[in-house]
């Protein structure tokens, strides 16, 4: 049984207060938000097992800093969806705007459509699966975690990358500084299989290429100045 909160009648503060309290109760409750109408900061700061379904599109920072909760947006999401997410699952049935999953530490961000630029920027351990394409400068300074793209990637993928792993099935318009294609070893196939299954993605791991850091920019070297 899902409790319905109509955002046409209930303001954001009341909605988030209700959801945050329910998450804290750890009772695995379910809520459905109707009429989000692009509201910002919807279902952010949840800390506990809770299921939230948003019927419509959201604005900035939906499910920001999520911990343990499951948030599904039955629409598209504005910039910074699931930013700094710690754990749990956030699913976007439509497209996601820029900075999706920015600085995320953990959990799964599952984007069924496309993601705009800077997807996974500075990610710190989150898993992001994008069923469509991603925009330019995605995984910029990405530190940890996995970014899986079933479609194509835009310019400068993985620029100044640290230890995050990038898997792309389609084309990559260009790689950013210090990002290189790497060998797809059995452990990567196994990891990718698991991620694809969790995301419900219809793709074979063998179709993907793996990208990672060349680690040449890890310590400043004047001979690499041209890369900056």
């Amino acid at each position: 049984m899902s409790t319905i909160l109509d955002m046409a009648e209930t303001d954001l503060r009341a909605v988030n207060t209700t959801l945050q309290a329910a998450a804290k109760d750890k009772a695995n409750a379910a809520y459905t938000l109707t009429n989000p109408r692009g509201s910002h900061a919807v279902a952010c700061g949840l800390d506990g097992p809770l299921s939230v379904t948003v019927k419509g599109s959201t604005g900035y920072y939906c499910a920001g800093m999520n911990k343990d909760a499951t948030v599904t947006v039955e629409g598209s999401a504005g910039p910074g969806v699931a930013e700094n997410m710690m754990s749990g699952v956030v699913t976007i049935e439509g497209d996601a705007s820029q900075y999706a999953g920015a600085t995320g530490h953990g959990g799964l961000l599952n984007i069924k459509g496309n993601a705009s630029s800077r997807c996974g920027i500075s990610m710190k351990g989150i898993d992001i699966v994008v069923h469509g394409n991603i925009g330019h400068m995605s995984a910029f300074m990405a530190q940890k975690g996995n970014l899986v793209v079933l479609g194509d990637a835009g310019d400068a993928l993985g620029d100044s990358l640290y230890e995050a792993r990038l898997f792309v099935r389609g084309s990559v318009k260009s790689l950013g500084a210090d990002c290189i294609e790497k060998e797809m070893r059995p452990e990567h196939i196994a990891l990718l299989s698991e991620l694809l299954e969790k995301a419900g993605a219809d793709a074979k791991p063998e179709e993907f290429k793996r990208y990672g850091s060349a680690r040449k920019l890890y310590n400043f070297n004047i001979d690499h100045a041209d890369a900056y």
Binding site: Y61, G64, N84, T103, Y162, E163, F220, I222
Partner: protein, 441 residues
């Protein structure tokens, strides 16, 4: 035969020994100089202002007898739980990583004993600091190293860092020497690599976005925490106005003398404005918006004495923040380490290679042997003492001007010793009733 008189060898002002040494260093290494601290060049500063004191038209308060209040409340605009401080002097953000754990603990101890707050930095919140800081401001930086909602909620305030005075428009680099297992773990990066701190936030650009970001932070923290926005001294009028527009509870304004853990010397010395030049435009922005005293202004960058505190308050700040001075109070650049500074190619008072992690005083290091030199209890007491002295000095000056609260200090209490300071502070040149830019000249 008489010797022909010789002209004394003349050093070039343009190509001084200092300049030439930097040219030789650059030629030898091929890389710019990186260092800690703030601008070392002489810029117009609080020393260029004087208090007028009481006279026929102003009655002084009796020292040691009549009360002069110092308390300040920060975050009264939106926060359910504003921060109440006993003194108008806070400890600025400095990261664990750039500073040792004992140094962070000492800052917390000293600040708490003095009744004020301390601030985290890039790299997240440590137990040393949270445990010893009664009031802790949690910085929200572009890198988001260590950022998590639990720490956000156990902070007493949040400081969104847009810029800092030492490097407005610049990020940072914590060199690999200081990236121990603990520091690396907190930042989700491998040990020993140089860690870049980004120059802009990853998920917002511009004041319109920032307004939404502040909404999110408030929603996550139940609108309890004051949210500060820290800006470098670049365009103080517009930056302050835009921070207010974005919803800041407090604006923290850091002039170019404000320190950094590590940045290019060329950046520190050539970008940004002196602290003195930043205050009046920021206050003007607040006044134009009807927000002066409703959105509090905290000024930092080169605060050293109670006179500096009093002058900043007189120009319209609600509080000041100290970083470099706090480190000196803990023991940074202490003459007792002179022999070791010499070995590092420096000297007491000039040591600024904080990024190398070899600080003899055990403050800007992660080396266990060096860190052990700093006793956080003793250092904390020194900081407490220093903060008390700043407060007493500030009160003394306020009483002399006839004020029963340090916030009652005003520009009319001041005069300037130089044209530059008069123009920047918008107070009359000493002996005149005029300052540059004032109509009627």
């Amino acid at each position: 035969m008489d010797k022909t008189p010789q002209t004394e060898p003349r050093q070039s002002w343009t190509f001084s020994n200092d300049v030439n040494s930097e040219i030789r260093r650059a030629a030898a290494t091929g890389i710019y100089d990186i260092r800690g601290g703030g601008a070392k060049r002489r810029v117009p500063h609080f020393d260029d202002l004087l208090f007028l004191g009481a006279s026929m038209s102003r009655y002084p308060l009796e020292g040691y007898r009549e009360k002069c209040e110092t308390a300040v409340t920060l975050g009264t605009r939106f926060a359910k739980k504003p921060i109440e401080l006993k003194i108008p002097i806070t400890i600025a953000g400095m990261s664990f990583g750039s500073l040792s754990g004992p140094a962070k603990e000492a800052l917390g101890r000293g600040a708490t004993m003095a009744g004020t707050s301390t601030t985290t930095g890039d790299g997240g919140m440590t137990e040393e600091e949270r445990g010893h800081s009664e009031k802790l401001v949690y910085q929200y930086l572009p890198s988001r190293y260590g950022m998590n909602p639990d720490d956000l909620r156990r902070a007493d305030a949040i400081e969104v860092v847009v810029g800092q005075g030492a490097k407005p428009g610049g990020g940072g680099m914590l060199l690999g020497q200081k990236i121990t297992e603990r520091v690396a773990g907190m930042r989700d990066l491998p040990e020993g690599i140089d860690q870049r701190s980004a120059c802009r936030h990853p998920d917002w650009t511009g004041p319109d976005d920032l307004e939404i970001k502040l909404l999110e932070l408030r929603e996550i923290t139940n609108w309890e925490k004051p949210i500060y926005v820290k800006i470098g001294g670049a365009r103080p009028y517009y930056d302050t106005a835009l921070a207010v527009k974005a919803g800041a509870d407090v604006v923290v304004l850091d002039g170019m003398q404000g320190g950094t853990a590590a940045t290019q010397d060329v950046f520190i010395e050539h970008v940004g404005q002196p602290t003195l030049a930043c205050i009046r435009p920021a206050v003007q922005a607040l006044q134009d918006l009807g927000m002066h005293r409703e959105v509090q202004l905290v000024v930092s960058g080169g605060i050293r004495t109670g006179a500096d505190v009093a002058k900043a308050l007189a120009l319209g700040a609600d509080a000041v923040s100290i970083g470099t001075a706090a480190l000196v109070a803990l023991g940074d650049n202490d003459p007792k380490w002179e022999a070791e500074y010499q070995k590092l190619g420096s000297t007491t008072g000039a040591y600024d290679d904080w990024h190398e992690g070899r600080d003899p005083a055990g403050i800007t290091t992660q080396d266990p042997d060096l860190m052990a030199r700093l006793d956080p209890e003793i250092a904390g007491r020194k900081l407490r003492n220093y903060l008390n002295v700043l407060t007493l000095e500030c009160q003394t000056l306020a009483r002399a001007c006839g004020h029963n609260h340090v916030h009652n200090l005003e520009p009319e209490d001041l005069c300037a010793l130089t044209m530059e300071a008069a123009a920047m502070a918008q107070v009359p040149l000493a002996g005149t009733n005029w300052y540059p830019g004032k109509a009627g000249f």
